[in-house]
Amino acid sequence: MKKKIAVNPFEEYEKQCTDDELCRLEEFFAEFDMHCRLRSEEKKKLREDFERAVMYYAREGLSLEKALRRLDIKHLGGFYARPPVLWFALDDAAKVYPLSMQHVSMAVFRLAVYLKKEVVPPLLQMALNFTIKRFPTFATTLKKGFFWHYLDTTKRRFCTQEENDIPCQPIKVSGSGSQTFRVLYHKNRISVEFFHVLTDGTGGMTFLKTLTAEYLRLTGVDTPPDETLWDIDATPAAGEFENAFAMVPKGGSASGFVDKAAVQLSGRLSENRPCRIVHLKLDAAGLKAAASRRGATVTAYLLSLMFIAGKAATDELRGEASIQVPVNMRKFYPSQTVRNFAMYCGIRLPLEQLDSAEAIVGEIDAQLKRKASKQAMSEMLTATENMVNMLKYVPLAVKQPVAKLVYGFLGDKIFTNTLSNLGVVTMPEAFAEHIQSMDFVLGTAITNRVECALVTFGGTATFSITKMTADPSFEEKMYDLLCADGVRVRAEGSMLYEN
């Protein structure tokens, strides 16, 4: 039997190169060797990423000189050349996530950008290789300490994958040096799924924007430095990775976590979590106009619709519906941090009061102003800190089972639903031209049947619904309510994930 000899495509490519080009490539990879001191198998993978990118450019007819300029080794910095030494204690909000996670449920959220052209995988991989060094807290792996988990720096090639699973699935963080986020691509979409220990929506968006900008630069889009984007070659500053909770002034009263159980939407909980993702792509101007007609903010307006849609999706006749609204603490305490720096509040209304969106929007606005105020958030933050201090000398082996039990018992029962609004995202004009829209998908809770999130880019506001039940009542009612208010809506999403 003849033995098959594997052909190295890069060697084949090199055979077609001129002597001058071979010389350039040799110099290029000699420089690569100086910048990469990873273990041999990781180094090999990283080198192959460069080779694939060079071959892609060659196929596209780009000269080798231009290709190597785009792939300049200096973008690797010293990240792959130095051994890992840094470690990061989890911030106050992140501490709960590894304590309460299970094999089937983990606090994962997803941010995605839709480009106008299909994603080129070798270039996305190179964009990640260059971007990761700018985010030292992302280049980490989750570790167990005796009292708390922590993030330990890991030096490896962080990989991108083609999307082929249900969104927001638990990330395998158990292996030595495993990633705590995943970068996925599918057609024209780049998605990043983050384990919440790393970052919150704002921090995640900073990463996605930086990654997308780097990807677009590699595809040939160029723009002068812009202050809305992180420069991947800049040196990371301590303030960008601080536990910002620590800088909030202490004292005052503590309150916030406990509340009455809220009404849950009806519909059998699905085995697959989530069982469907629905994106309502809204005309941003129309949405703003509809909110203005009600004299409310976009968040308050959407909350009013969610309450009405929620009522249509439950069989309960009495009780209180409650929607959790994450609050970005950066607006009260300006910080550059890309780690978690958010608290939340709950907007509550009795079911009997939910007659129409017009009738409740005023009350929602008032509750938002009161409950998402600096004072209220500071009280919740004090409560969080008190709890962290109380538990800090309790061994993890004791804390973890108790936390799982408490989380399983209390869990998300005090809320019916969630609305996380990331606001309006901007990119420099040259990059924005190549982007269609963005979306933000929350991971699943325990009993809440739906979780909602909103992000606006360009003229499109994407309202994403993460579903835990096959019952379509909620999204259908939302769709009807938005259409009735004159907002242009287009529905996209996943198929129903059924066994």
């Binding site: 009292f147 158990s174 030595s176 085995e271 198929m495």
Partner: protein, 191 residues
């Protein structure tokens, strides 16, 4: 409302695997529920305790594996902890008098294997030290307590286990040098 599908199809295999794992979990739970009942009905020695510990071992080592730091050292130390608990339970509930010698020997062997696993893949495994450190500390603690409380001839196994644990700790500290201190600082931080 018509939804345009923009996500890829998910292979059924993945979905089925999750279901299978869940089914196995329920089967174990059922066995754990039924065994003590059968034991109580039939009478005799408390063999169901041994079955329960064994089921817990299967659950922990195969179905509910570590979510953080799942590696060869952590799995092996888990196995050693469970095996020691199982041996102690057999001694207490089925036939007694031998565990005080056997458990330290098993623990000693466990420390030896953990040491080999650690030092043969040092660069990678130095990130996975905590389970081995805990095994070392527990062996040392158990050795001291055992030697103080147990005054029979069979104390030698406890002494060997304690001495070997201390030797392994020193070997780790010497090999890791300043990194050992840093490792301890991050592993035992309270921030």
């Amino acid at each position: 409302m018509k939804i345009e599908v923009t996500y890829p199809a998910v292979p059924k295999r993945r979905l089925r695997r999750r279901r299978l794992k869940s089914a196995a979990g329920w089967l174990l739970l059922f066995a754990a529920y039924i065994c003590p009942i059968v034991n109580m009905v039939t009478g005799g020695k408390a063999w169901s305790v041994i079955v329960l510990i064994s089921l817990y071992m299967v659950w922990m080592l195969l179905l509910s594996t570590d979510l953080v730091e799942y590696n060869r050292i952590s799995q092996f130390t888990r196995l050693i902890f469970c095996a020691c608990a199982l041996l102690a339970a057999i001694d207490v509930f089925i036939s007694s008098g031998w565990a005080i010698e056997v458990v330290p020997i098993v623990c000693f062997s466990g420390l030896t294997v953990a040491g080999i696993l650690f030092f043969t893949d040092f660069e990678k495994q130095k990130q996975n030290m905590l389970p081995m450190l805990l095994l070392i500390f527990m062996a040392m603690g158990a050795s001291v307590v055992g030697l103080c409380l147990w005054h029979e001839e069979s104390r030698w196994a406890l002494a060997v286990m304690g001495a070997f644990a201390l030797a392994l700790l020193v070997a780790c500290a010497v090999t890791l040098g300043s990194e050992f201190k840093r490792e301890l600082r991050r592993r035992f931080h309270t921030k």
